[in-house]
C-alpha cells in the first residue's frame, strides 16, 4: 500500500493540501498506526471522497479518464523495458543498461504505480494490466525488436517521443487542476528526459545526426529516419505558435530556420491520435 506516499507527494506539489483536508488527515494517519488491514482496505474510498472535496473543479470522470489513458501508455513502456532488460539476445551494452535503460525502466514502473494509486485515491477504477496484451514488434514492423539493439532503440525513441506528445495533449483537460495537472506535467517532463537520452544513445549507435530534440523539415515531422513511425511525428513540423510564426522572429544563429523552429517546440497529440498509433499494432485487448 503506497497511498500515504501520495499525500506526501502531493504536498510537494501543493503545500496547501494538508490545510484543505486537514481535520481528516490526522484521523487517516491514525488509521495507519493501527495497521489494520480492514482500515487500510477502506482507505481508497476515504481518500476518494477527500480528493473529490479538495479538487472538485474538474469533472472526476474526465480526470480519471486522462489518468487511465496515461496508465495504458505507461504499461506499454514499462513492459517494453522489462522485456528489453530481460532479453538475453538483445546485445544491449552493459553501460547503456546501467546508465539508461535500468533507470528508464525504474521510472516507467514508478509511473504505473503512481497512476494506479492516484486513480484509486480519486475513487476511480484503473484498467488492470491483465486486460491488455502488448506486441513490441508493432504487428511485425519491428520483428527483431527484442533481438536487435538498434531496432530496440528505434522503438524506444518512438515510444518516448510519442509519450511526451500524449501527455502534452491531455494537459488542457486538466486546466487549473493543481494536483493532477502538476503530476501529469511532472511525468511529461520525465518522458522528455527519457526521449532526449534514448535519442542520444541511438545517435551514438548510428551516427546519423539524430538530435536529443525533434528536428523536423517543412514537410515531415519524423526526423528519426525510422520507416513506419511517420504518424508518431506528424505535426511536429509546426512553425506557428499562438499565431506567431517562429521563423519570422528576430534571428540568432539558426533560430529562424525551420529545423530550429520546429525543435524549439514539441507538439501534442490527441488521445484518439495516440490510440490509433498504438492500437492494434502495439496494444490489444487481452
Amino acid at each position: 500500500m503506497n497511498l500515504f506516499n501520495i499525500i506526501e507527494e502531493i504536498e510537494k506539489v501543493d503545500p496547501e493540501v494538508s490545510e484543505r483536508i486537514s481535520p481528516r488527515r490526522a484521523a487517516i494517519k491514525n488509521i495507519t498506526s493501527f495497521g489494520s488491514k480492514v482500515a487500510a482496505a477502506s482507505l481508497p474510498f476515504a481518500f476518494g471522497s477527500l480528493f473529490k472535496k479538495a479538487y472538485a473543479q474538474s469533472s472526476p470522470s474526465e480526470v480519471i479518464g486522462v489518468l487511465d489513458f496515461a496508465l495504458t501508455l505507461e504499461y506499454l513502456e514499462a513492459e517494453f523495458y522489462k522485456a528489453g532488460l530481460a532479453a538475453t539476445g538483445l546485445g544491449m551494452p552493459a553501460a547503456d543498461r546501467t546508465n539508461y535503460f535500468e533507470k528508464i525502466s525504474r521510472d516507467e514502473n514508478a509511473h504505473v504505480t503512481f497512476l494506479q494509486s492516484t486513480i484509486t485515491a480519486l475513487g476511480g477504477q484503473f484498467t488492470p494490466k491483465s486486460a491488455l496484451k502488448f506486441d513490441f514488434t508493432g504487428g511485425g514492423a519491428f520483428g527483431n525488436v527484442m533481438s536487435n539493439y538498434e531496432t530496440f532503440l528505434k522503438v524506444s525513441v518512438a515510444f518516448e517521443d510519442t509519450g511526451v506528445r500524449a501527455y502534452k495533449g491531455q494537459a488542457p483537460k486538466l486546466l487549473g487542476n493543481e494536483v493532477v495537472l502538476g503530476a501529469a506535467l511532472a511525468i511529461h517532463a520525465v518522458e522528455a528526459r527519457h526521449a532526449s537520452a534514448v535519442r542520444y544513445v541511438l545517435n551514438d549507435k548510428l551516427g546519423l545526426g539524430l538530435r536529443p530534440w525533434i528536428v523536423s523539415t517543412g514537410s515531415k515531422g519524423n526526423d528519426t529516419g525510422v520507416a513506419g513511425v511517420d504518424g508518431n511525428y506528424n505535426g511536429e513540423q509546426e512553425i506557428m505558435q499562438l499565431g506567431i510564426n517562429i521563423t519570422d522572429l528576430p534571428n540568432t544563429g539558426n533560430s529562424k530556420t525551420i529545423q530550429s523552429a520546429t525543435a524549439s517546440f514539441d507538439e501534442p497529440l490527441t488521445k484518439d491520435q495516440v490510440l490509433a498509433l498504438l492500437i492494434p499494432a502495439f496494444i490489444k485487448p487481452a
Binding site: 546508465n99 501527455y167 520525465v190 522528455a192 499562438l242 514539441d266
Partner: protein, 228 residues
C-alpha cells in the same frame, strides 16, 4: 486592463528606477528593494523589482524572464567559451541557444506591450573558460526552467497558453537531460530532479525559482501575485 492609476504608479516606478540607476546606486538599490519587497505593498508591486504581473500575462512574463536568462547564458557560452567544448558539444549548445532565443522572441512578441523590459544578466559567478562551470550553470538553468513551467502551469487559465507552455517545457527537459548526461552519463533522471518513488520530475513555485534566477540577474524579478 490597466487602470489609469496603475499606469501612473507604473510610470512613477520606472522614473524612480531610472533615476536611481543613473545615480549609480544600482547594487545598493537592489538590496534595499529586496528588503522593501518583504513589506507587502500591493499598490506598488515594483519596489525596484521588475514584477511579472498577474494572470496569464503574469505567467507569460515569468516564462519570458526565464527564457531571457537562458538565451543570454547560451549566447555568452557560444561567444566566449572558445575551445572548451568539442565540435559535437559546440553544435548541441549552439542549437540550445537557438531554441532559447526562439522562446524569448516568441514570448516578447506574444506579450507585445505587456512584456516586461529586457533583463540584464549577471553571470559573474560563471567561468566561461571552464567546462564544468558552464555545464553546471547550464544544468541549473535547464532544471530550473522545467520545475518553473511545471510549478506555475495550474495558474494558467487559457488552454492555448497551457499547451504552448507544455510545448516548451518538454524541450527544456530534453535540454536538461542532455546537459546532465554531458556532465555525468546516466544522470538525466537522478534523484536531484526526479522523485524516484513516483517517477515525477520536481517542480517549484515562483518564489523558489526567482530566488535562484535572481542570483544571475542584475535586474531582479518578482512575481508578487503568485506568492507560492
Amino acid at each position: 486592463m490597466k487602470t489609469e492609476t496603475q499606469l501612473n504608479q507604473s510610470d512613477a516606478g520606472m522614473a524612480r528606477r531610472a533615476f536611481l540607476r543613473y545615480a549609480g546606486a544600482g547594487v545598493a538599490v537592489a538590496g534595499l528593494a529586496a528588503v522593501g519587497a518583504c513589506k507587502k505593498d500591493k499598490n506598488n508591486p515594483n519596489n525596484g523589482l521588475t514584477d511579472v504581473g498577474s494572470g496569464d500575462i503574469g505567467v507569460l512574463n515569468y516564462a519570458y524572464a526565464l527564457e531571457q536568462l537562458e538565451a543570454a547564458f547560451y549566447i555568452q557560452v557560444a561567444d566566449t567559451s572558445g575551445n572548451v567544448f568539442n565540435n559535437d558539444e559546440k553544435s548541441l549548445l549552439g542549437e540550445i541557444r537557438d531554441h532559447e532565443v526562439a522562446h524569448r522572441e516568441f514570448f516578447r512578441k506574444a506579450l507585445k506591450d505587456k512584456a516586461i523590459k529586457d533583463l540584464t544578466p549577471d553571470f559573474s559567478a560563471i567561468n566561461f573558460g571552464d567546462r564544468t562551470s558552464i555545464l553546471t550553470a547550464a544544468k541549473a538553468f535547464e532544471d530550473l526552467g522545467v520545475t518553473a513551467y511545471n510549478g506555475i502551469a495550474f495558474k494558467i487559465t487559457s488552454a492555448d497558453i497551457l499547451t504552448v507552455a507544455g510545448k516548451i517545457v518538454s524541450v527544456e527537459a530534453r535540454h536538461a537531460a542532455l546537459i546532465s548526461n554531458l556532465i555525468n552519463p546516466g544522470s538525466f533522471v537522478n534523484a536531484d530532479q526526479v522523485d524516484l518513488a513516483t517517477g515525477l520530475n520536481k517542480s517549484n513555485g515562483p518564489n523558489a525559482v526567482l530566488a535562484a534566477a535572481n542570483m544571475y540577474l542584475k535586474t531582479k524579478v518578482s512575481a508578487s501575485s503568485f506568492n507560492f
